[in-house]
């Protein structure tokens, strides 16, 4: 059994209201030194088998069609070390 991680983030040019709201709140909470925050999603996919090329290509397809909305989001797939 292997674990694959898919990170999904809004494309850089797309407004991220959540990240902005967090960034605006930070100084009030006493945190300084933060230039920006962006919030995205993280998926942990447990595979039945090993994370071989075939499985990864499946996960990539899954990310492309289901986990990310590629109109506004980018994704990255990686194997948990």
């Amino acid at each position: 059994m292997a674990r694959v991680i898919v990170d999904v983030m809004l494309k850089p040019e797309i407004l991220d209201p959540q990240g902005q709201a967090i960034a605006r709140a930070l100084p009030r909470l006493g945190f300084s030194g933060v230039a920006g925050v962006r919030q995205g999603k993280r998926f942990e996919i447990e595979l039945d088998g090993p994370a071989d090329e075939a499985a990864l290509s499946d996960v990539r397809k899954m990310a492309e069609t289901l986990l990310a909305n590629t109109v506004i989001e980018d994704y990255a797939v990686r194997v948990e070390p």
Binding site: E13, L15, D16, I72
Partner: protein, 597 residues
């Protein structure tokens, strides 16, 4: 290098991408004639968006005039067509403003954000009249329920409306959900908002008084929805990085909620001379329209516009469709009070210019003049087309095809079950349960009633003097309109009118969203002309004026248009809202009476 007015004068023959921006060559020539030179990239940006079908109504204008010329006399009408939204007198010193608008295409591209920003846009229209938005409705049409793309579009649209409207605290008091294969690839997402205001506090989109400040407030400006502007950027600058800009706008309902509360405090403090929301054409539209309706001149430093992406070029700033922004005109004496109220609500606000009496809209960027135009030529004097139209081939064949020709169903029971289970007749609770219908505590009737009804008396401070209520319904039937657009539009009005009337309300005014195919197709144009004629005639007969609305053309897949779909909203008033008539049989033993034939 900035494409300044000076540079434009020196390079009269520089080729410009007007066609890519959707401008015809004679339209481009008219701009050159108006300016006496070639437009700068920024000026071209302004004219191309302001003269687009969406902003200028160039194909529909000649027909829509009937709503004015045939309008019945109405004492209730305070503000008619042409403003951000119509305003009607509901009595006791109070007025209601309401409007329906489409966000069809964006909702197909990105259902959640498209529908969400559709709600956001119509709510800002209502705010810009000086009103508190008090409820929303949504009128939706999708392809067949079991079509694969409907699985993508329907949940996204409903979630978008739900997340945005719920977060604003606006009860959703009604709407429609209909399915027809003609909407596959062209879902219709029409959102309605209604607001309340004191009759004597109507705000208009106007910038009078030289020396008054022009304030941009709300969200910062990003590269949202400026896919089209990239041709300008790449034409002038050949810069790769600007070639790919998103066509999708993302909404921030929390910012919009802050904007609502902020605007209401601004109105209450009486520190606003004129106000305009930033809709499809963003800063271009707000500046040209405010200036054109005011003293006639305005000076703006585009470099002062707060940016989310510092790499934006002036023409991109002008075309940006970033959401949750408003523009206000404020006297110098009131500007501090204005800014303090914005700060209290955490709403960023920036003075970006000043009203002048020069009759020119002048914009600068890094010290250079990049726009110098008579604002009315962009805002009001766009092209007007008398598009050719004729009855579609096969229209009379369609009409002579009679249901009597169809085979009679053998099994009535199965037919009834089929009907009950069909998508268009089944319960819409999957949709309506995702909408908050109770928030703000003034909802008297909502789902499953035929019309939404709201109590006015506790909507805002001061309204306690009235027992009145308002009722609203939207209706439309594309299949009827396909068979006969004249009668179809009238049926839509009649249905909404009835739905308002059965709550006990007196129907007062009409808003409409006209969803059609391409106006360049004479058969579609015929459908449009007939629908408008039908609606205007019916409004005269019923004595209710059209106060505003929206036209959405180009709803077609390839060359196949959707059914012509006029959606009609009717607003009525109840003198005493406690006497509303609820929906359904309320007690056993009551007599059931059928009215009409």
């Amino acid at each position: 290098m900035t494409d300044s007015v000076e540079r434009a004068a020196q390079t009269p023959d520089e080729p410009q991408p007007y066609a890519e921006l959707g401008m015809k060559s004679d339209e481009y020539e008219r701009v050159r004639a108006i300016l006496g030179r070639r437009p700068t990239a920024s000026e071209l940006a302004i004219y191309s968006v302001m003269w687009s079908e969406h902003c200028s109504y160039k194909s529909s204008k000649v027909h829509l005039r009937q709503f004015g010329t045939k309008a019945p006399k109405s004492d209730a009408l305070l503000v008619g067509m042409g403003e951000n939204a119509g305003v009607v007198d509901i009595g006791d010193g109070w007025a209601a403003t309401f409007k329906i608008e489409s966000h069809n295409h964006p909702s197909y591209v990105e259902p959640h954000q498209g529908a969400a920003t559709g709600v956001g846009g119509i709510v800002r229209d209502i705010m810009s009249m000086g009103a508190r938005p008090i409820a929303v409705m949504d009128s939706l049409r999708f392809g067949a329920l079991d079509a694969p793309d409907t699985r993508r579009v329907l949940p996204g649209v409903v979630e978008g409306i739900s997340s945005y409207g719920n977060c604003l605290g606006l009860p959703n008091i009604g709407g429609e959900v209909l399915f027809d294969p003609c909407y596959i690839g062209n879902p219709l997402v029409n959102a309605l908002c209604v607001g309340l205001l004191r009759k004597d506090q109507i705000k208009l989109a106007t910038a009078p008084g030289p020396g008054n400040k022009v304030v941009l407030f709300g969200a910062s400006t990003g590269p949202d929805g400026i896919g089209g502007a990239s041709v300008l950027a790449s034409a002038t600058f050949e810069e790769e990085s600007h070639a790919k800009r998103p066509a999708v706008q993302v909404g921030d309902p929390f910012m919009e909620k802050l904007l609502i509360e902020c605007c209401l405090e601004l109105f209450e403090a009486d520190v606003v001379v004129g106000i305009q929301d930033l809709g499809a054409a963003g800063v271009s539209c707000a500046t040209t329209e405010l200036a054109a309706k005011g003293t006639g001149g305005m000076r703006v430093d585009l470099g002062l516009v707060p940016l989310r992406d510092p790499s934006l070029l002036p023409e991109e700033i002008l075309m940006s469709e970033s959401q949750e922004r408003m523009m206000a005109v404020v006297t110098p004496e009131d500007i501090d009070a204005f800014m303090a109220i914005c700060a209290r609500w955490d709403v960023p606000a920036t003075v970006i210019g000043e009203v002048t009496d020069t009759g020119r809209l002048v914009m600068t960027w890094k010290g250079e003049v990049i726009v110098d135009i008579p604002p009315g030529t962009a805002a009001d004097e766009g092209p007007v087309y008398e598009r050719p139209y004729h009855e579609p081939a096969g229209q009379s064949a369609l009409n002579s095809d009679h249901p009597a020709r169809l085979p009679r169903p053998a099994d009535l029971r199965a037919t009834l079950l089929d009907l009950l289970g069909s998508a268009n007749l089944a319960s819409k609770e999957w949709v309506t349960s995702q909408y908050d219908r109770y928030v703000r505590g003034n909802t008297v009737l909502a789902m499953p009633a035929d019309a939404g009804v709201l109590r006015v008396g506790e909507v805002m401070p001061g309204a306690e003097n009235t027992d009145r209520g308002i009722a609203l319904a939207t209706d439309g039937n594309g299949r009827y309109a396909r068979l006969d657009p004249y009668a179809g539009a009238q049926l839509a009005l009649a249905e909404a009118y009835r739905n308002v009337a059965v709550t006990g309300a007196r129907p007062l005014a009409v808003t409409n969203c006209l969803n059609f195919g391409s106006p360049e197709d004479p058969e579609v144009m015929w459908q449009f002309a007939e629908a408008v004629r039908g609606l205007a005639d019916a409004c005269r007969t019923l004595g209710v004026p059209v106060t505003g609305g929206n036209v959405s053309f180009y709803n077609q897949t390839g060359s196949t248009p959707i059914h012509p779909t006029p959606v009609v909203g009717v607003l009525g008033v109840l003198d005493d809202v406690r006497r509303r008539v609820p929906h359904g049989f309320t007690a056993p033993g009551l007599k059931v009476v059928l009215l009409g034939d």
